[in-house]
Amino acid sequence: MNQYNFAYLDEHTKRMIRRAILKAVAVPGYQVPFGSREMPLSYGWGTGGVQVTASVIGPDDVLKVIDQGADDTTNAVSIRKFFERTAAVRPTTRTDEATLIQTRHRIPETPLQAGQILVLQVPIPEPLRWLEPREAETRKMHALEEYGVMYVRLYEDITRHGKVAQTYEYPVLVNGRYLMRPSPIPKFDNPKLDGNPALLLFGAGREKRIYAVPPHTRVRSLDFDDHPFEVEHWDRPCALCGARGVFLDEIIVDDKGGRLFVCSDTDFCARRQADGGAGGDRP
């Protein structure tokens, strides 16, 4: 792979993206436009996240890539391999070992540490997108902090379903100012955004936007006083490691209605099993 620059992107592009990231960090939750490049993977597979990762990665980084909580699914494997080949970084599946984590749709169960960077892949960055079709108008709404319409959506959910039915991409207010779409993470992960000691970067390749939640930033999930924000609960522990209070995936195991609920975070689950932690609760 000598014919490619370190981490695939040319240095000018990296500099441009780093500038966008710096601006995003300076204005938490604000969507910074950037000149998104064609990447050797298709839109929807994490082109935004890959560009952010390529711009912040260094030879000494230890990289973990997550797809829906798992380290061994197609998207995670190919992106990890991509950076192994183009940046020769050391890969890992362990959340606590990684310095840089690119993720699709989950924040790891293992708490992140100061100094770590989490890069989230974002399909649609604009939280007001399905409420207001005009881009010029949504920018104006952000500029003027006109977020009443987002509450209209929550009102509608409660009216129709008795509760807010949004279970992923649950809208948050960052640092008391910008409304942000936290990428399609389950709302279960929303509390992890709040005051997280790691740097959270969001990259949307097709929509050409980068935004960020700097360490220890207040992130509040929108709710009503009489319908407070709640996360999902499961009435059983993980079938493999016995963890409670974690995000579980439902797996169909046969064609007779048999099903299993297991941790969506494979690294977390595997390490608990190795430690003989079955039956215990979340650390």
Partner: protein, 261 residues
Amino acid sequence: MSRVEERPLLGVRGLGKRYGAQTGCLDVGFDLWPGEVLGVVGESGSGKTTVLNCLSGRVAADAGRVEYAARDGRIVDVLGLDESARRRLLRSEWGIVHQNPRDGLRMGVTAGANVGERLMALGARHYGQIRGLALDWLAQVEIDLDRIDDLPETFSGGMLQRLQIARTLVTGPRLVLMDEPTGGLDVSVQARLLDLLRGLVAELDLSAVIVTHDLAVARLLAHRLIVMRGGEAVESGLTDQVLDDPQHPYTQLLVSSVLHP
């Protein structure tokens, strides 16, 4: 209501707007006093709606000055406001009723959410209270309370207009701008809406500017009238005075053109 007010709620001076070579409106001026309803009448293309749009900032005026006495007593230079302050004013102290209720409503969400939207935009964060107020207002505009969770698409034209009025008035605006509020409705529905509007305006002590081409609407709702033609105000005065004893030839023509069945 026998209050003595020293200053008008809204003072408009020399308002002008050109669309290229066309005149939108020219040197329009009036005072609107608290609790007063001002009718702006004239034929299509006379500049009525341009005046209203200049006031609300949907169209940028070329000339003139609009002063508004805000709730906190400050005098606001409306045309000089930056966009954020202007939109805040429109949200909190003013209300706009569009001719076509579909322009003022969110057709994809329920009636309750439509009424609640302005409350939520102003910071209401209690679902139960928002819903309670929405129910109150649906009752005030005579919409069946069990329609609160229905989409506006299922409403008739008259109901849509009443819903739009509820949505506008729920936050207690002091000044309401209405553009042909009864346009496009059949006569009996119009009569009911006019009754309702007249009641609400009196009860809430609203000030309003109502643009209409319908002199009967103007006579029922407005205390004073401005007659516009070709972008200029040709005559103004008390409603009965203007309609019963028109002075300007155009007003005379306008009044004599009304059909009496």
